[in-house]
Symmetry: C2
Subunit: 339 residues, 2 copies
DNA sequence: CCCTGATGTGGGAACGATCCCATACGACCT
DNA sequence: AGGTCGTATGGGATCGTTCCCACATCAGGG
């Protein structure tokens, strides 16, 4: 392995000077700088990350914990984070928590131990005190994704779930729907609660309340969407529109509705949330609320990078807007569709 | 920061003994071992990764380069790799090449520089000599995913594209189809070429050749599938079955066929490849050939881990079978459907 | 002419682990 | 008694950087 010593020997300068050239700080004369750069090139010298990290206590690696890398949705988030890191010359060390608290904590501690310069965390569960202390003791900045109220967070990025849900609900209501069911992801999820809140706002803006529709709580799974529809539509068609908590639920709902012989959107309208990679591929293409999740991952990384470079954040909490994407799964209710 | 020295002081032993306890090698008496473990616990000592890495030249980190983290397909692969790494107590440092040679090389070199213990590579392009030399100089093992003929590879995992395609084609032929078009992903991709080879085998087993069907080459995109169908079916229905190069192409083909008024599978059968997330969600659900891609990622990591532990591989090249998944997009051709 | 401050350079002590080597002791054999 | 071997322990060099400090030189001001 070629070391800084080899370079210094070839360039006829001290190790210190080489180090200064590499780090581009301190005083170096133009002549020596040139000599060092030449020596580096001829020897093919690449600094040893470990030695550098040991001495400077920095690794140029950012740690990321994400709920589930496997999921297409989070994959997109990771993509954004990774790209931002790469552009800044940082590596991304990745772990998944898979929604398990113990696993998430293990992952976090491991990332801290690996001397990550900072963390981007997308967690299912709140961080326990002990883990928070470990992070704090290491003195590394943390940006949370999807939740803003954790004690250790120096920054947070969230999607405007309420605003997005409000737009979606407003769209349904303005199309004339009144018999609406919301198949939510469950009150345990903050995202889910915020979406219900947005739905409520849309209703209130039109003189209605949550009691005027049916709000159900299940899980963010296709299975739940499928089962819920089969149950709700067992005997008759009680609703003209379904607002699914996410696109997975929507997919299950669409499948169930089709099996029951309902046409979409003629008989029943369906709207989703997320704009999954696959929303476009449903038949009909799913009208949904897009979460710009890649963007979220990118912004989180950029916030972290800014913190790492010593600049304070002008905005500790960034809320990214969610946008209604109109495709083909929503129409005016058949009763009122007198065009 | 609490160091090994602090532990040794508290446990009244030397640094060396503490190190031996941590690494669980060498001779340590039961008494001292207990004392050290106790000291570690009370101090909350966690070894410094950098120092350890510098000295031992090992990082316990595995580097992964994947074509595109953003894609759901590769995300699943990454998931498998990550899980295997985690189970072995290794970290996974991730990079994406996005199909760009320069980017892929940059990513590889960076991973080598970060002292990764080994690499899992899923690349679009062959590795250039210089990069291969850098990897070799670092002396770290490499497992390739999806391609087996690179010079630096110590192991390789591939999916049996030919076998899968053969099964798919056999299925179409056995249903009675003879007027078949294959919309391939393009000869530039080895996967694509192997699939054509499998199709050929199925034909030959039945006394036919590739000339008896229509083999087209496009790209692995929905757009291509859509355009190809619109072109081929412009005036009449020349084919009773479409074998798409992957599920994206299949999705585009299905959309185009529907727009042209063909029923699937009554008028035209469609079969895909991959078993993407959305294959199940197409209407009708897509009959396709499943690539167990998560499995592939896991196996690749396991091979690498085995190499890292010093054991040679009993199989340098592992070929994972692809399985035909029968759903609803294939039926017997209408002409021959005399049930 | 001395002092100060800016510029330039090298020496060498850290950083926190690993691991080689020296040493010690008891058991057992010859 | 002396030698050998297995077990147990500590000392300290070492990994490749960074970075503090000492020192040198030179210009400009008092």
């Amino acid at each position: 392995m070629v070391t800084i010593k080899d370079v210094s020997r070839l360039a006829k300068v001290s190790k210190s000077t080489v180090s200064r050239v590499i780090a581009d700080n301190g005083y170096v004369s133009e002549t020596k700088r040139r000599a060092v750069e030449e020596a580096i090139a001829t020897l093919g010298y690449r600094p040893n990350t470990m030695a550098r990290g040991l001495r400077s206590n920095r690794s140029n690696i950012i740690g990321g914990v994400v709920l589930d890398v496997t999921s297409p949705f989070y994959a997109q988030m990771v993509g954004g984070t990774q790209q931002a890191c790469r552009d800044a010359g940082k590596g991304l060390l990745l772990s998944s928590g898979f929604g398990d608290t113990a696993e998430e904590e293990r992952a976090i501690i491991e990332l801290v131990d690996r001397s990550c310069d900072g963390l981007v965390l997308n967690l299912e569960n709140p961080i326990r005190r002990e883990v928070a202390d470990i992070i704090r003791a290491a003195g590394i900045p943390v940006v949370m994704v999807g939740a803003s109220d954790y004690p250790v967070a120096d920054g947070a990025v969230t999607v405007d779930n309420a605003g997005g849900a409000e737009a979606g609900m407003a769209y349904l209501l303005d199309q004339g729907h009144r018999r609406i069911a919301h198949l939510g992801g469950g009150t345990a999820h903050r995202d889910s609660r915020q979406r219900v809140r947005g739905i409520e706002r849309a209703l209130e803006a039109r003189g209605l309340t949550l009691d005027d529709i049916n709000v159900e709580h299940g899980t963010f799974t296709e299975q739940y969407g499928y089962d819920a529809i089969k149950r709700l539509f067992a005997h008759k068609a009680p609703y003209t529109a379904i607002f699914a908590g996410d696109d997975d639920i929507a997919a299950g709902a669409v499948l169930a509705l089709k099996e029951l012989g309902y046409r979409i959107p003629e008989d029943v309208s369906v709207i989703g949330f997320d704009d999954n990679f696959h929303a476009r591929h449903l038949t009909p293409a799913l009208t949904t609320v897009r979460q710009p999740i890649g963007e979220v991952g990118r912004i989180a990384a950029e916030m972290l990078l800014k913190l790492l470079s010593g600049h304070p954040l002008e905005q500790k909490s960034v809320i990214v807007p969610a946008e209604l994407i109109v495709r083909g799964s929503v129409a005016a209710p058949s009763g009122s569709a007198k065009s």
